[in-house]
């Protein structure tokens, strides 16, 4: 059985861990670059300690539903495409790292 499952990346994001310069393996191996500070390594270890490798992967999509897109367009009539994209990416990021506060928005 894998020691790190497909939800680990989203769990790191949810915990606010800086993601640069390290990797992980399904067998539990962690590889840190030389520039990754010990504080980040400790954060990763903490997330791993609470990790359930059997947890399902996050939605295999941008996280945006058709309803989301329609809502965005309706809300943003009269704005530029760039502004719409900015809003879409913001929503996408929020969905990739759901927190209780974000869910209430």
């Amino acid at each position: 059985m894998d020691k790190i499952g497909p939800s680990f990346g989203s769990e790191l994001r949810a915990a606010g861990v800086p993601l640069e310069g390290f990797a992980w393996g399904a067998d539990g191996q962690l590889t840190f670059g030389p520039d990754v500070p010990q504080s980040v390594r400790d954060q990763v270890a903490a997330v791993l300690a609470a990790h359930d490798p059997s947890a399902p992967a996050p939605p295999a999509s941008d996280g945006l539903t058709v309803d989301d897109v329609v809502s965005l367009l309706a809300d943003q009539q009269g704005t530029t495409v760039d502004q719409l994209l900015t809003r879409a990416k913001s929503l996408q990021a929020a969905k990739a790292a759901p927190t209780p506060a974000q869910r209430m928005e």
Partner: protein, 283 residues
């Protein structure tokens, strides 16, 4: 009865040796026209010790004297330091071939013979590096024995035994335990290759990139990148580059990065479904 009879290479005023050698105590061989600088041996690893392997003969010129050996010397790793590069020299001690490991480098004379710097009685046979556990190693993942003369192509390879992932937007080493480590000579090129497949859980339009790091997480000039057409859609990568790094120890490793989400590179215990990295070196 000694198994070697040495004559100076300048014997008879010639720049070549005419040598009579009693080989294995059984027959007399006439060796004519040995060129100055001859070395018929290759440094190899056998049974945990370094030793010499005869190649098309058994003669070696040490400091102007040609010796013929049929009893091969050995060099155990026991007294050496961990993770250290050694120059392996051959010297003759009362008719017995003897190997010596030293951190002292070498000098090449005008006849092309490489000697221990400051001591021409010790001819360079090769390079060897100890492992972290103070052993000699010559495996696919650790090519730590190179021969100075009689070189041949040597392959090095390693693979991902399990899936490797990163969410890094900057190049990250995907697995430090699955590098290839090797030695190389200054005058030799190496060819590095990586191939496999990977996917990202991010949406369409996001990038997944793969490259090779040599001695760190800076990518070589070549790399592979693709735009996701859809999440979790596997894409193959592969390519190679010929490179001329400095003499000595190096390692190569697969690097990855993503523009969003998490990228995963395939690994497996069996061939056919895993990313791998390989190198061709000479020694």
């Amino acid at each position: 009865m000694p198994d070697q009879l040495a004559l100076p290479t300048t014997f008879g005023g010639l720049a070549a040796a005419i040598q009579l050698a009693l080989l294995d105590g059984n027959y007399l061989a006439l060796v004519r026209g040995l060129p100055v600088g001859v070395n018929n041996f290759r440094l190899i690893l056998s049974g945990g010790n370094l030793t010499l392997q005869p190649v098309n003969g058994c003669s070696v010129d040490i400091n102007g004297t040609v010796y013929a050996y049929t009893s091969m010397p050995t060099l155990a790793p026991g007294t050496f330091s961990a993770s250290t590069l050694y120059y392996v020299y051959l010297t003759d001690v009362s008719g017995v071939a003897t190997l010596e490991g030293s951190t002292t480098g070498y000098t090449v004379d005008t006849k092309g013979r490489a000697y221990k710097t400051g001591d021409a009685t010790r001819r360079l046979m090769g390079l060897a590096r100890t492992t972290a556990g103070v052993a000699w190693a010559d495996t696919s993942a650790q090519r730590f024995v190179l021969s100075r003369d009689n070189r041949r192509d040597i392959g090095a390879s390693n693979y991902f035994a399990a899936n490797r992932s990163t969410a890094s937007n900057a190049w990250a080493e995907l697995s430090s335990s699955e590098r290839i480590e090797f030695l190389t000579w200054a005058e030799e090129a190496i060819t590095l290759d990586a191939h496999g497949s990977a996917y990202s859980d991010a949406g369409a339009g996001n990038n997944v990139s793969t490259s090779i790091g040599l001695d760190g997480t800076s990518p070589l000039d070549f790399y592979w990148v693709w735009n996701n057409a859809a999440p979790n859609l596997g894409q193959a990568f592969g390519g190679m580059e010929t490179w001329g790094p400095a003499e000595g120890y190096h390692y190569a490793t697969i690097l990855g990065k993503v523009s969003a989400g998490t990228g995963t590179w395939y690994g497996n215990a069996s061939p056919g479904g895993r990313c791998m990295i390989s190198a061709r070196i000479r020694g």
